[in-house]
Amino acid sequence: MSASNPPPGPPLGLLAELTHRCPLMCPYCSNPLELSGARAELATDEWLRVIDDAAAMGVLQIHLSGGEPVVRRDLEQLVARCRANEIYTNLITAGVLLDEARLAALAEAGLEHVQLSIQDSRAATADRIGGYAGGHAKKLAVARLVRAAGLPLTVNAVVHRQNLDHLAEIIALAVELGARRLEVAHTQYYGWAYANRAALMPTPEQVTRANEVVAEARGRLKGVLTIDYVVPDYYAKRPKACMGGWGRQFLNVTPTGKVLPCHAAESITDMTFETVRERGLPEIWADGPAFRRFRGTDWMPEPCRSCDRREIDFGGCRCQAFALTGDAAATDPACGLSPHHDRMVALAEGESAAGADRFRYRTLRRKDLAGQT
């Protein structure tokens, strides 16, 4: 069994986090705790170069995300450049800033798909979770505008203890809104979600019930709604194949141009990341130190290194290993073979039973708010 550190093939997908600015304050936001303001963001021509480089590398899909990508006035221009390069363009949005005219302009520019987040099926809970009064009602209206603009819709719902019991309603709402796809994503506990873990962690009973709800709905809604379901790995026996393997299929460009192997990678505090202002995207992908660090299987400790699943789950999640053990190269504690696994499960069960419901909301620091346009 030889370990390997192979040269990478071309990446399949690129997550373009155009901005950290967002009107919502979800306590599980996937952006880092250290948010950047408008003045630090890449300029239009820098993003255009990223898109051209991505196309030349063989990237097939670009996910335009944030923060809220709609705050960028050049969004249509970036969409058009993706399409000129034949890259599939997906907009990941909270929706509340979209209107009919903007959607028409985006569709005209060549946008191919909209992924709209909802925080819950019920307005009161949804608005409390997102920290944005009236947000849920706006999202429902925007979902209808998306369909009216002829754009296919995916609804994304991040689920946790405070909305998981509404899962059947969330599924029904996705169907009612005309979505063909629903992502039910159990919260992943890094960054903001890690800080809010005690308020978010579901109970084992809730998770079991949710699994049943999804299984039933999948059978009933075949050909109507595809449900992608990301299981919560605190209660799993084996880790998820995070990002399909580190530096193997995906890359992420942050608002300031840092190139990351995954959107949460900045939570690993002993890593440094190159930016597209310093070096080209293809070069960073090929041999950037952050990408090389956990690419392949060379870096793995035992029991991962000789595990017959090492190229199935690629050792799980490095961010989770770092968050829970302080060592980013440790076996992912989601794996039953990790010496930290039992402690992780006990922690999850304890926090979910304690029922602390208060959130620490995601916010930009005050001085960055001043930089908003």
């Binding site: 093939g9 097939l60 599939y88």
Partner: protein, 93 residues
């Protein structure tokens, strides 16, 4: 509601789904929301012909003539393949 795909169905790619010549990897891919599928050469032949006008029966007839194969066999394969893709949301009929 489940997917009923028959010889009379007139299939097309679902909205937000398209075929692309993936030059970097020397293959044809089916791009869909958050998903990339690599259909085999036979599937590509079928998918390239989906135009929202021809029925499965018509498509199968063309393919049978082109490949000099029995139309019953081709049609059964095409129905199976498209039903599977319809169930996964790539194809509509």
């Amino acid at each position: 509601m489940s997917v009923a795909l028959t010889a009379d169905s007139v299939p097309r790619l679902a909205p937000g789904v398209r075929l692309k010549d993936d030059k970097a990897r020397g293959q044809t891919v089916l791009l869909a929301p958050e998903r990339v599928l690599v259909p085999d050469a036979t599937a590509v032949e079928v998918l390239q012909r989906l135009d929202g006008r021809q029925s499965v029966a018509q498509l199968s007839k063309t393919l049978a003539a082109e490949y000099d194969a029995p139309v019953e066999t081709i049609q059964a394969d095409v129905v199976d393949m498209l039903a599977d893709l319809a169930e996964k949301g790539f194809v509509e009929a």
